[in-house]
C-alpha cells in the first residue's frame, strides 16, 4: 500500500464523504454523491478501492458495484450501509461480488485496516495483470463442449440424501461429483481429491453449521470456491459468510436448477482465474497478509475453534 493508492467513496450523504475523506487523508481520495458520477470517476482514474453506500436514490449501491466490476474489475469493492436487509446482502455477494460488507456506524480502526489490506490486493492484482500483457483469455460462459468431461470436480454437502442424488445426477455428466451428508467426511475428502474446485454446502448440516464448514474449508483450502445454500433468511449469517468466509455465492432456496448450473460454471471459471492470477484469490491474500499459515489444525472442529478465536480478534471487517 502506498500513499498513491486511490480510494473512491460513494454516498448520497455529503457529511459521510467529508468524514471519510478526513479519516483517509493519507490516501488520494475521490468522492461521489451518486452512482452515476462515481462511474465517471472510475472510468478516468485507476481506483484501488471503492466503498459505496447501499441505499442511494437513482442507483443503488449494488447496481453501482455491478457496473463498477465491469468497468474496473481490479478495483476492490466494499459495501457500507446503515441497514442490512437480507436481499441487499445476498445481492452484494451474488451480483456485486463484494470484498467486505461494513455496517454503519463503522469502526474507524477496522475500516482503515480493511482498506489497507484491500489496497494491497488491488496493487498486486494490477501488477499481475500488467505482467501478463497477453492477458489470459477469460474462459467464456459458452460451453459448447458440454459433453466433454471436465477435469474439475465438485463436492456437495447436504443433510438430505435425496437432494444429493439430484445434484449428482445433474452435474455428473460434466463434472465428477462427490456427495456426502457429513461435513467432517467432506473436510477429509478435499485434500485427497485435489481437483475439487467447488464445494457447495447446505446451511443446515449435522455436526457443524454449513456456514462454519465453508468458512473452515475456505481457510484451509483458500483456492477452493465455496457456495452456501440456505433456506433461512439470515442477514447476519450472510454478512459473516462474506467477511469471514469469502463465500463465492449465497443461494437462497428454493432456486431454479439453471441458476445452480450457472453458479457452478462461473465458480469453475473463478477457480481457474485464481490459479492463473493468485491475487484474485482474496482468502489466500488475506492469509498471507495477516498471518503466516497457521492452519496446522487437523480436524474441522479443531480448525473451527481456532477460527472462532481469530474471528473475534480480527482487526478488519
Amino acid at each position: 500500500m502506498s500513499s498513491q493508492s486511490k480510494l473512491l467513496f460513494v454516498d448520497d450523504e455529503p457529511l459521510i464523504l467529508q468524514s471519510l475523506s478526513v479519516l483517509f487523508e493519507e490516501y488520494t481520495v475521490f468522492t461521489a454523491e451518486s452512482g452515476a458520477s462515481a462511474l465517471e470517476i472510475l472510468k478516468q482514474h485507476a481506483i484501488d478501492v471503492v466503498i459505496s453506500d447501499q441505499r442511494m436514490p437513482q442507483m443503488s449501491g449494488i447496481d453501482f458495484l455491478r457496473f463498477a466490476k465491469e468497468i474496473s474489475p481490479n478495483t476492490i469493492r466494499i459495501l457500507m450501509t446503515g441497514y442490512a436487509d437480507l436481499q441487499a446482502v445476498v445481492d452484494s455477494v451474488n451480483v456485486g461480488e463484494i470484498f467486505r460488507y461494513v455496517n454503519k456506524p463503522w469502526n474507524a480502526e477496522k475500516l482503515k485496516e480493511t482498506v489497507r489490506f484491500a489496497c494491497t490486493v488491488a496493487e498486486q492484482r494490477r501488477a499481475m495483470t500488467a505482467a501478463k500483457t497477453m492477458s489470459p483469455a477469460v474462459p467464456s460462459l459458452q460451453f459448447s463442449q458440454a459433453d466433454e468431461k471436465s477435469e474439475y470436480e465438485l463436492l456437495f454437502v447436504d443433510s438430505n440424501p435425496k437432494h444429493l442424488e439430484q445434484f449428482k445426477s445433474f452435474f455428473e455428466p460434466k463434472y465428477k461429483t462427490h456427495i456426502t451428508t457429513s461435513p467432517v467426511e467432506a473436510f477429509d475428502l478435499i485434500p485427497k481429491r485435489i481437483n475439487i474446485a467447488v464445494v457447495v454446502a447446505d446451511s443446515t448440516l449435522p455436526e457443524i453449521e454449513g456456514s462454519d464448514f465453508l468458512i473452515a474449508v475456505k481457510d484451509k483450502y483458500p483456492s477452493v470456491v465455496t457456495v452456501l445454500m440456505t433456506g433461512s433468511q439470515d442477514a447476519k449469517q450472510a454478512i459473516r459468510m462474506i467477511n469471514e468466509g469469502s463465500v463465492y455465492r449465497y443461494l437462497v432456496k428454493p432456486f431454479p436448477r439453471e441458476s445452480l448450473r450457472l453458479t457452478i460454471e462461473s465458480a469453475i471459471i473463478n477457480f481457474k482465474l485464481s490459479k492463473q492470477n493468485p491475487a484474485t484469490n482474496l482468502k489466500a491474500m488475506e492469509k498471507s497478509f495477516f498471518r503466516s499459515g497457521d492452519s496446522s489444525a487437523r480436524s474441522v472442529e479443531e480448525l473451527l475453534r481456532t477460527l472462532r478465536g481469530a474471528a473475534s480478534a480480527r482487526t478488519t471487517y
Binding site: 467529508q18 478526513v22 441497514y83 433461512s232 433468511q233
Partner: protein, 541 residues
Amino acid sequence: MLDYKKIKKSLKKALKSIEQMELLEELMRAQQTGQLPPNLSPRMLASEFSMATQQFIQQLQLPASSAPTQSQPTATNGEPPPMGYDEWLKKLQMRQGGQPIAPVTPSPSPAAISSGAGVDEAVRQSEARLRAIIDATPLGICITNEHYILEYVNKAYAEIYGYHPSELIGQPFTKIVQPEKEAFWKDLHDKYLAGYKEIRGEWNTVHKSGKLLTILADAARIIGTDGKPKKVTFVMDVTELSHLREESRQNEVMMMQTEKMSSLGQMVAGLAHEMNTPLGFVKNNMEMLETKNKEMKELLALYEKLRSQIMYGSPNDVAMLLSQIDNAAQKVKNRVWQESDNLFRSSVEGIDRIQDLVINLKNFSRLDEADFKPTDINENIESTLKIAGHLFKGGIQVIKEFSPVPLVQAFPAQMNQVFLNLITNAVHAVDERSGRITIRTMAQGNQVIVKVIDNGKGIPPENLKKIFDPFFTTKPVGQGTGLGLSIAYKIIEKHGGKIEVQSQVGRGTEFTITLPVSGVGATPSVKQSAHSPFADSPFAE
C-alpha cells in the same frame, strides 16, 4: 422471520369466526329490537318461530298476554351478514347434532278451517302439524308455571340440556341453572311473571353433564287454561358461538398486531438507515477528534515542560523541547485539525438529525397522548410524512395541498396508521424517478376530506373491489400482509367516516377519506366513566 403462510392461514380461520360472530351479533341486535329471530331473507327461523308460538298459544286456546310481534323488516338496518342465514342455520344444526329442519308447512288457510265438515279434521291436522313443527324446531321451548315447574318442554329444549323431555317435565326449571344462582333465577321468574322484568338476552345455564352453557333466550307471558300465569321460554344454545366470538376477538387483536409488526419491520429498515448514516459520520468524527484531542494534550504537556525548562533548564534542554514541540505541533496540524471546525459542526448537525427523527417517531406514535381527542389532520399527515421521508429518497415528488381544516374527534395514532399505509402504498405504486404523490386536505361542511393521489401504475378493475379485503395483496410473500388497507378501512369506519378509491391502470390511483368532524361512533363507550374512579373500588358494578 415470520412464517407468513402460517399466519395467513390462522388469520383466515380467525376471519371466518369473526363472520360468525357478526352474525350472532346481528341476531342479538334483532332480538333487542324485539324481533327474535331477525327477519333475514330466508326468514326460515323467523316465520317458524312466530308461527310456532302463535299457533301453539291459539291451539291451547290461551290468550297471549305477550307474544312476539310478527316480524317486520327490521330496524337494525344493518347490511346483510357475511354468511348466509341458511348456511348459518345449517351449521348451527350440525353443531347441535340435529336433523335438518323440515320445510315449514304453511299454516292451514282460514278457508280450509271454516269449510263446514272439515273443521275437526282441519283442527286435528293443524295440531299435528304444529306438533311436528315444535318437535323439529332447533329452538328450545318450555312452559313454566308460577311454582317454577316445567309443564312442557319440546325435544330441542331437552336436547340442549342433554335430558329426555320426561326427565324435565314436572321438575323445577332450576334443574338447568347453577345451584348457587337458584334464588336469583326464582326471583327473576317471579318478577317476569309479575310483568316487570324481561329475560331477553344471553344467560348461563347448566347442561346435564355439569357443563356451563351460554343460551340466548326470550319469553312470553301467557295465562293457562287453569287461569294461572305461565311463562313460555324460547332458548337457543349459543355456547359455541360465544366461544368463537371470544376467540375471534383475540384473533382480531392478533391480526392487527401482525400488520403493525409488518409495517414496523418496513419502517425499522428505513429508520435504521436514516439514523445509522448520521451515526456513521458522527462517530467517525468523534473518534478522529478524540485522537486529535490527545495529541493536543501532549502538546500542552510539552509546553508546560518548556516553561519550567526556560526557568531552570539548560539552553540545550530548551532547544530539545522546542524541537519536540515543533514535531508534536506538526503532528497536530493534519487534516483533522484543519477540518476540525467542520467536523464539530457536522457532528452537531448529525446529532440534530437523529434527535429530529426520534421526535418524529414519538409524534408519529403519539404514545404520550390521549387516545381519543380533537385531532389536527394536517399535523398528523405532516408527522407521518416525516416518518415516511426515507421512502421518497429516490426522487419521488410529494405535493402537499393542505387547506385549513377543523379538528376531528379521532384516535391520532390510528389516523397516522391509515395515512402511513396510504402513503406507503402510493410510494410502491409510483415510479422511483417520476413518481408524484399529492396529498390534499379540505373541509366540506361538517366533514374533513383527505385525498392521497398518485400517478402510479393504478389498480386493475378486477382488483379494485378486493383491495379492502383482508389478505388481498399483489405484493410477493413476505412483503405485505394484505391487511393494511383492510385495517385502514376498519379504522375509518370506526371513526364514522368513509374511505373510497378510484383508479385507472397506467394513470394512477386516488384514495379519498371522508371524516365527520364529530367522529361519530368512534367514541369509546368504555370511556364514559363506566369505571369507578377508585382503583380498588369497593363499589364494584
